[in-house]
């Protein structure tokens, strides 16, 4: 296969439907089209919004493909047709979309990746709540568990992330005027997800995340030799000179391990630390749940292992020492049984054995009633 230049990816990041992400992406597309760039619309979700639809005028669209699933017809992006057409740039709306079963790829971001690999530049759109690392926080703030997520590394690899802002007040006005959704749908949206506090919190997350992306790109730039941060130079113990932080996430088969993985990875990303995960398996434990967590962790690019061992705390501590781990992430242990209230939990034993390592106990976040 000949060496193809990888396409460049630009993401318009918003915090809710209706802030104007697609509009901004189409403005780019129109500008490029005027400059004579070979640009096509690969996928566009009009949502019946007139100003947005008007912005597609004069642009070539690749027709969607129709798939039948469960007795209904679904329209999806025709990735193969875009690849055959081989434009210089493709506009692809809704980066976090999950394809209907029967498509070659599960997620739209995987389709976009195929376009990038073929050397096609892509302009796309997504909301901050679709970021995997923010899933628990978004749920905690809004009560909504977002199902369509994008791993953070996919967004980190984008060449450009641009924040699309609109104040929550203006967004709610647009909803009331029926610009974003039809009126009945708008009324329900206002009462649920679009309450002022939710919107404001999501907006703040989007601002902070865009700032984080800008900072990551600065750090990765060739000329980057940022001055050491004051007070960070040589704190004894926490970060001996030249020693990178290494975070170890201890997984179990419990559903709460998903939250632990997201939290540990998020902290590792922000601290620019290595991230590892282990599960210590005793024979006959719920392997399926663990395997699911393992593949989830690997999808987030965490170095994940299953160890065999009877003494779980000892295995964790030995692995941590062997791998020069600086911080261990654990969930809260189940309390000791009533007949033996003084029995030590796994957390207590790890704390006792790993006296030279920082240990973070991640609480299961709950929604206030």
């Amino acid at each position: 296969m000949s060496e193809t230049r990888r396409g460049r990816l630009k993401i318009y990041l918003g915090y809710a439907a209706g802030v104007g992400k697609t509009y901004r992406a189409l403005e780019d597309a129109q500008l490029l089209h005027q400059q004579g760039v070979d640009i096509v619309i690969g996928y566009f979700e009009p949502h019946g919004r007139q100003d947005t639809i008007a912005k597609t005028e004069g642009l070539e669209s690749i027709p969607r493909r129709t798939l039948a699933y469960g007795g209904s017809q679904f329209q999806e992006m025709d990735t193969a047709a875009i690849l055959r057409r081989q434009p210089a740039v493709a506009l692809v709306d809704e980066f976090a979309h999950t394809n209907v079963p029967g498509c070659e790829r599960v997620k739209r971001w995987e389709d976009v990746n195929a376009l990038l690999e073929a050397g096609i530049d892509v302009i796309t759109t997504m909301n901050v709540q679709h970021l995997e690392s923010l899933n628990d926080q978004v749920w905690h703030v809004t009560g909504v568990r977002v199902r369509e997520t994008v791993p953070d590394w996919v967004v980190d690899e984008a060449d450009e992330v641009v924040f699309v802002d609109l104040t929550p007040g203006a967004l709610r006005n647009r909803l009331e005027r029926g610009v974003v959704y039809g009126t009945e749908k708008a009324r329900r949206a206002m009462e649920n997800f679009f309450v002022e506090t939710n919107l404001t919190a999501l907006r703040e997350m989007a601002m902070r995340h865009t700032a984080h992306e800008v900072e990551e790109k600065l750090a990765a730039a060739p000329a980057a030799a940022p001055a050491p941060v004051a007070g960070e130079s040589s704190p004894p113990g926490t970060q001996p000179a030249g020693r990178k932080e290494r975070i170890l996430i201890c997984l179990t088969g419990s559903p709460s391990s998903a939250m632990l993985i997201r939290r540990g990875k998020r902290v590792a990303d922000y601290l620019q630390a290595d991230c590892l995960a282990i599960h210590v398996a005793r024979n006959g434990e719920g392997r399926q749940d663990v395997e699911r967590h393992m593949s989830f962790a690997r999808n987030l690019r965490i170095d994940a292992h299953i160890l065999q061992g009877e003494d779980i705390p000892r295995a964790i501590v030995e692995f941590a020492h062997g791998e020069r781990v600086t911080q261990i992430f654990m969930g809260r242990s189940t309390p000791p049984p009533w007949w033996n209230p003084f029995q030590e939990t796994v957390v207590q034993q790890v704390v006792r054995h790993a006296l030279d390592v920082q240990i973070t106990i991640v609480a299961e976040r709950r929604r206030p009633a």
Binding site: K10, Q137, H140, V141, E160, V162, F163, V164, D165, L166, T167, G169, A170, T197, T200, A201, L202, R203, E204, M205, M207, R208, T210, A211, V214, L218, A221, A223, V229, A230, G231, E232, P235, P236, G237, T238, Q239, R263, Y270, L271, Q327, R332, P335, V347, Q348, V351, R352, L355, D356, V357, Q358, I359, T360, I361, V362, A363, E364, R365, R366, P368
Partner: protein
């Protein structure tokens, strides 16, 4: 360096060094008065950018046009700089109250025609160049003060400013860009705005649009980050005010907030350094709490004071907690302050025969909305 990264939620004169965390009667009175004032006042909307040509002026005037189309009484009180054709097109459909040209000391100044605006008394006034100086002897030394006056007279204002012009950010701007603009606007002015909107664009797009002189993309990226974080801080503050005024207790905001719990014998140095690193990396807040104990030995008192001095150097928010029970005091405080990470030192007590659970175990059991990070005891290494 540390002094440049001030905690996001501390504003000068608002948070003393050691804080009692209930609002004082004066603070409550201030809020009531602010509410009353707000009702009579015009509404302020600010577009925040990080460089010229990101499209602030376009967005600002476009907002004026949209509002006029929706039936509001909109005039333009000041334009600045070179007018691009797309902005010119918008201006042609808006009523203008032109600025006055004043000469002073050989320099030309453009001054808002306040008298004309008061006579015209529009519903909304669009003002560009918010950070401008007025010449000596003017009604107000700076343009943002003119805007304050318009607001006080019940005229709503739409305006635009770059992060370079925010007074409290200018040390950082100077570090990034090597120079600081002479004119500026206090951050408190932004905090009073009902609405702030970020105009974000990638630096590359700006470079493409310039003729010949390419600005340094790295410098632009740093300014861009600064503008985004400033906006996030303003939004965070608005959110907290909204929650407080509606009596909603929110346990978890959008910002990382680290609380370091100090005891006289804790490994304070590691905890504080790590806390500072987390604060800087997450652009979050660093808080330090200790529970007042009366029967401290001279040595313990000395240690605690040294730790607090270190925390003060890091510009942490320091809080002294009262309470009979260490665990309850910390838990209440952590919930109230929307803490996301609580830093504790390992207990050094050997667990030979334990009656009941030690404080750390009780904290772990009770922590529901935040992580607990345990730090090795210094002797452990």
């Amino acid at each position: 360096m540390a002094s440049e990264a001030s905690p996001a939620l501390v504003y000068p004169g608002n948070v003393p060094d050691v804080t009692d965390h209930r609002p004082s009667p004066e603070e409550l009175l201030r809020r009531v008065q602010a509410d009353e004032r707000r009702e009579r006042r015009g509404r302020l909307k600010v577009f925040l950018g990080y460089a010229s040509r990101v499209g602030k002026s376009y967005r600002m005037f476009d907002e004026g046009r949209r509002r006029k189309q929706r039936g509001q009484d909109v005039v333009v009180g000041a334009v600045q700089g070179a007018i691009t054709p797309d902005v010119q097109e918008i201006l042609s459909c808006l009523e203008m109250v032109p600025t006055l040209l004043e000469k002073h000391g050989g320099a030309d100044y453009r001054v808002i025609d306040m008298a004309a605006l008061f006579r015209r008394h529009p519903g909304v006034c669009v003002i560009d160049g918010l950070a401008h100086f007025n010449p000596p002897g003017s009604r107000n030394p700076e343009r943002w003060q003119d805007v304050e006056e318009l607001l006080d007279h019940g005229i709503s204002v739409i305006t635009a400013v770059n992060v370079q012009h925010i007074r409290e950010k200018q040390d950082e701007v100077e570090r990034i860009a090597g120079k600081r603009p002479s004119d500026s606007v206090p951050q408190a002015f932004l905090l009073e705005a009902e609405e702030i909107e970020v105009v974000d664009a990638p630096p590359d797009a700006l470079i493409d649009r310039t003729d010949g002189v390419a600005p340094d993309s790295r410098r632009l990226a740093e300014l861009r980050e600064l503008a985004l974080l400033l906006a996030a801080d303003v939004v965070d503050r608005q959110l907290q005010e909204y929650l407080e005024s509606h009596g909603i207790a929110a346990r978890w905001g959008a910002q990382e907030r680290v609380l370091v719990c100090l005891t006289p014998r804790s490994n304070a140095r590691d905890m504080l350094h790590s806390g500072l690193r987390n604060k800087l990396r997450f652009h979050g807040a660093l808080l330090v709490a200790y529970v007042e104990q009366h029967a401290l030995s001279a040595e313990d008192r000395g240690n605690l004071d040294a730790h607090l001095a270190m925390a003060r150097d890091m510009e942490a928010e320091i809080h002294c907690l009262q309470g009979d029970d260490f665990v309850d005091a910390i838990l209440d405080f952590a919930r109230e302050q929307r803490i996301t990470q609580l830093f504790l030192g390992h207990s050094s007590r050997p667990r030979v025969l334990r009656l009941g659970r030690n404080p750390i175990e009780r904290l772990i059991d009770a922590a529901e909305d935040f992580d607990i990070r345990l730090f090795p005891h210094p002797e452990a290494k």
